[in-house]
């Protein structure tokens, strides 16, 4: 068995038997997608941009992070032989752990549900919301997922929502 751990902003795709992709979630979302015919699957871990007092953010600007995160995962799956029409998904996370953030976990969850509905991707299991962190383990070849609530532990720093970051411009070429 090979374990791959991902954190916020990352995704991983695999098509080998016995691979486990895992992550720890607070208000972020992990989408687990699998094509059961091609036996390829993947998981991401993302957070929408968070509106702040000194950086007002519109709905479009918030959603771009989530849409991009989902697109990266779907494109990687398709490059491994998945077909968009066969994809099935699970959604986890979206907890409102830290008070005073305007229910960012709820917003993340709403975005994830809307995205799957808009893209026509069937959702087999949805475990969103609440006030506790989750640990998610996904086996992409087998299509199996295990999600556990993480109880009575101080929230790891990695699970606290990150402040809104400007989009990375690394790698951009100045040709125009």
């Amino acid at each position: 068995m090979r374990r791959v751990s991902i954190v916020q902003g990352e995704f991983h795709v695999a098509s080998q038997e016995g691979v486990v992709i895992s992550t720890l979630l607070g208000s972020c979302i992990a989408a687990c997608l699998q094509d059961p015919v091609a036996r390829v699957g993947g998981m991401n871990h993302f957070l929408l941009g968070e509106p702040g007092a000194d950086s007002p953010v519109t709905g479009v600007e918030m959603q771009r992070y989530g849409v991009h995160a989902m697109e990266l995962l779907i494109n990687a799956l398709m490059q491994r032989g998945a077909q968009r029409s066969r994809l099935r998904g699970h959604l986890y996370g979206g907890a409102n752990i830290v008070a005073g953030l305007g229910g960012i976990g709820t917003k993340n969850g709403e975005f994830a549900r809307n995205f799957m509905r808009t893209e026509g991707i069937a959702v087999d299991r949805c475990d969103l919301g609440g006030t506790q962190a989750r640990k998610v383990e996904f086996m992409p070849f087998e299509g199996r997922v295990r999600a556990m609530l993480v109880k009575d532990q101080p929230l790891p720093a990695a699970l606290r929502p990150a402040p809104l970051a400007a989009p990375q411009r690394t790698g951009e070429l100045e040709l125009f």
Partner: protein
């Protein structure tokens, strides 16, 4: 200064959510005539039969990718000069270089802010009103 409302746009992306997001961003910039397609093949057919001024196309699409789409547009005697802006990922340096060689007018790296899209469009058309 060109009026955004007078510019006809075709948005091409295989992801419905991305097309919807770009459409909203363009509407906020004052664009009125916005069409969209999920695939480059159908977009090519559509703009051949009803020309547009601006194509905003994703690179990473199944069947025909953004570079093949750009090449097909540039090789067409009727729509060959249509302004073409490509949407790419941050790791697609090689794609941008190939797109430049094929005559792309500009490119935008995902995930982009509406302001970034506006800036890239204005670099081609001039300041929008």
């Amino acid at each position: 200064m060109p009026a955004a409302a007078a510019i006809k746009v075709m948005v091409v992306d295989d992801q419905t959510s991305m097309r919807a997001m770009i459409r909203r961003a363009l509407q906020d910039l004052g664009f009125k005539d916005i069409r969209d397609k999920a695939g480059a093949g159908e977009a090519l057919a559509a703009i051949k039969s009803d020309r547009v001024h601006l194509v905003i196309s994703d690179y990473n699409m199944p069947d025909m990718d953004g570079l093949e789409f750009l090449e097909a547009v540039r090789n067409d005697p009727v729509i060959g000069k249509t302004v073409f802006i490509m949407l790419t990922g941050s790791a697609d340096k090689e794609v941008v270089q190939k797109a430049a060689a094929l005559g792309v007018n500009n490119y935008v790296v995902k995930p982009f802010a509406p302001a970034a899209l506006k800036e890239k469009i204005e670099r081609v058309f001039g300041e929008l009103v």
